[in-house]
Symmetry: C2
Subunit: 444 residues, 2 copies
């Protein structure tokens, strides 16, 4: 098919007529589909029902070191859970703290603690005039939500398939002491599914921030969330790399089992240097007596070890891989060559990122909604919900049943075509008007 | 036996000789007993093992409203859990938020949020020169730990068997806008086991604080933790009373199932006005996607309803009541009439409070430790760990097996006698010296 961009107004109008008819047909279906969040589907959740049997009323509730997991204590998590999560995160168990059910909560608490008490003896951020943060875009809306809530000025840094624009990152952190952190989803990033290149990770580990309390918030949410066995991204382990580079305290690394077992009922963890851990524990011991050790033990008994976890992730992949592939093939089939959108083809994670023609994202999301398909709000992948191009849309293919997803993805491509055609017609008309006006001006 | 206070130096020295011999006999036993924290014992934890069967791999993981508890969402907790906890807390389910595993964490987060973002539009506390807090003493060390961590100036308010000295509370909160809160454990208080009288609760509900962002931190940790069926304290429900008094937003009320099921693996909750809830939810939605709904559902399925919970608490009481009674009878037997200590006889909760002669608490705790019995640090029941009288000791009788507890309580009374005798001898000698000196002065 001819690219829309190369079509005349008449050709586009003819095209639009068919698209509108087709769109009304979809509206008549009265669908209600939710593709807005990166949620596992029912079949994925069913994979972890064995977790519910991992501890029954006859279970031995003791840790190997004799701790009764049912009672108070053990601030930083039971040893067995540290071993399992350290294997998952590729860190030393001594560098791991196990928290509650949400790594987002851990990140929030890190920023809140820095705000109220400072980082390793530095001035609490609430006493500073200005705190700034680097935000690779597009990115994760809930990250941006935390920094926005604390009134931290967010600076957009463009993402590339290799990771954030490191020239910009290096320059900014070296120049501005007010910049205290950066949000990173380094593997199968949200929403593009990009993984940081070796060079990007090495440059991160060698950053020379002006602020001594600058920390990289390394949210490795999709560390073992591959779609393929034989076709995986690899990420250099950041803590080890920072240590090698002489920057041992530069990074807070986060992970959780939210998309491994049950979102909301998994365990979250942080890996960081011993210095950072000491700093964090000073606050933790005031905040809580300890996190849910029974759930930690439950996870350990269920997976046994990292091999069990990897096998488990293979089953997740088998369920969601066809969904990703189906969306991609519908996009290919319906949009290829039209020059009205580009999309990513991740090898893992939970999202596909779609870039529409500038100025079209909001209209596309809106029109999908009016036909019963809820997408992540346009703009959500940018700080302050402001996508300067109004172009980026996050596609979350995991949750809907595959047949629904097929319908939703087809509708999506239809809407992309429809909105793009409308936009191009308007542009071309404006151009014609402008050209006519210019001609008339010249004649005067 | 004659009161120690009435004995002569010689009588006391004779007494001391026997006590020291006896103490050395205890030291030779090389015990290691921990009575330092209010922890349930193994038999109590065993009561809740059925919780581990409440959800197995065949379980229906859906709420009554169709929510799959295994997936993301439901910020403030599942309806069923709100109903159960509201029955436990005597509040409307609409006024309840269900959190994670720790009510201490909820309290910390309330103070942290007030510090970073203020309470209902008032100035964030980090922007104020001074924040103060009322601390009924003796009280709960972890409460004081939070306010200390935030640099909040803590003001001691004496406890009475009716609750805090309300004349002092009323006067202080009305006079000083810097006073932003008060720690309360209103029922079976930590450590005295006192329950606030009806008048105390009514006066709390009618406080007229100078600060609009003053909140009562009402930690009803032992609301259903009775030792007796027929012999219970009753507490007026504070939210309803505040509403009646025209002060609906005055209180944050906290509770948890930590000492009902498993400490660290229970569920925590807060009850407060709808205004306060709206204020809190603005922050919560940034901090987390939601708390552990599977564990909420597990608790609901295990207890079914409040009656199930009450029956369950009866079993707890059957296990720990003999421990309380045993300690009290040993105290009665060994210390009555000696005028060297006073202790409380609570009808619920987790602690007995012991007041030694002024200046003796540290020495008693220290000597117990040297004979293998670990008590809560002396001073811990006061802000900044400073008991101005060095008199109060918290006794936590629930954790040790009853035979060990008997030994520990007997040792404790022995040590109280020993330290008191030493102190009285020193005092009496000083008095003699002083008297002789005075006599000599007069002769000059």
């Amino acid at each position: 098919m001819k690219p829309y961009t190369a079509m005349s107004v008449e050709e586009l109008q003819h095209e639009l007529e068919g698209l509108r008819k087709e769109y009304r047909r979809y509206q008549a279906l009265e669908m209600t589909l939710d593709m807005s969040r990166g949620k596992p589907c029912k079949e994925q959740l069913d994979l972890s029902m064995g977790l519910m049997d991992a501890l029954n009323s006859d279970a031995d509730m003791y840790c190997e070191d004799g701790t009764d997991c049912r009672n108070y204590g053990v601030l930083t998590g039971i040893d067995e859970a540290k071993v399992l999560l350290s294997d998952m995160m590729e860190n030393n168990p001594d560098n791991i703290i196990i928290f509650g059910n949400s790594s987002l909560n851990v990140m929030y608490d890190c920023i809140s603690r820095s705000y109220t008490h400072g980082v390793m003896g530095n001035t609490p951020w609430c006493k500073l005039d200005k705190v700034k943060w680097l935000c690779p875009v597009p990115g994760y809306d809930r990250h941006f939500g935390i920094t926005e809530y604390f009134g931290i000025e967010m600076i957009n840094v463009p993402m590339t398939p290799e990771g954030p624009d490191m020239d910009m990152v290096e320059k900014l952190v070296a120049a501005d002491e007010a910049i205290k952190g950066i949000w990173c989803v380094p593997k199968y990033s949200n929403p593009q599914g990009y993984s940081y290149s070796d060079e990007t990770v090495r440059r991160f580990a060698r950053l020379k921030p002006a602020a001594r309390d600058f920390r990289i918030y390394w949210d490795n949410a999709y560390g073992i969330h591959h779609l393929y066995d034989d076709h995986q991204d690899h990420l250099i382990e950041i803590l080890a790399e920072c240590k090698r580079a002489g920057n041992p305290d530069l990074v807070y690394k986060f992970a959780s089992t939210s998309k491994i077992t049950f979102p909301g009922s998994g365990i979250a963890a942080m890996a960081t240097s011993l210095n950072n851990m000491e700093d964090i524990k000073k606050q933790m011991k005031r905040q809580t007596i300890g996190y849910d050790k029974v759930n930690q033990l439950r996870h350990v008994r269920f997976f046994k070890d990292i091999h069990g976890m990897v096998e488990h992730m293979r089953k997740h992949a088998d369920i969601i891989r066809p969904k990703f592939e189906m969306v991609e093939s519908i996009f290919d089939e319906n949009l290829s060559g039209l020059e009205i959108g580009a999309w990513t083809k991740p090898k893992g994670g939970y999202f596909i990122s779609f870039d529409a023609l500038p100025g079209c994202a909001k209209a596309i999301v809106d029109k999908c909604k009016k036909a019963g398909v809820k997408l992540t709000d346009a703009g959500a992948t940018y700080p302050y919900h402001k996508d300067p191009q109004d172009a980026n849309i996050r596609i979350a293919p995991t949750y809907p049943p595959i047949e629904d997803l097929k319908t939703a993805a087809t509708l999506f491509t239809l809407v992309v075509k429809l909105v793009s055609a409308e936009k191009l017609i308007a542009e071309k008309k404006n151009e014609t008007v402008a050209a006519v006006e210019q001609e008339m001006d010249e004649k005067k």
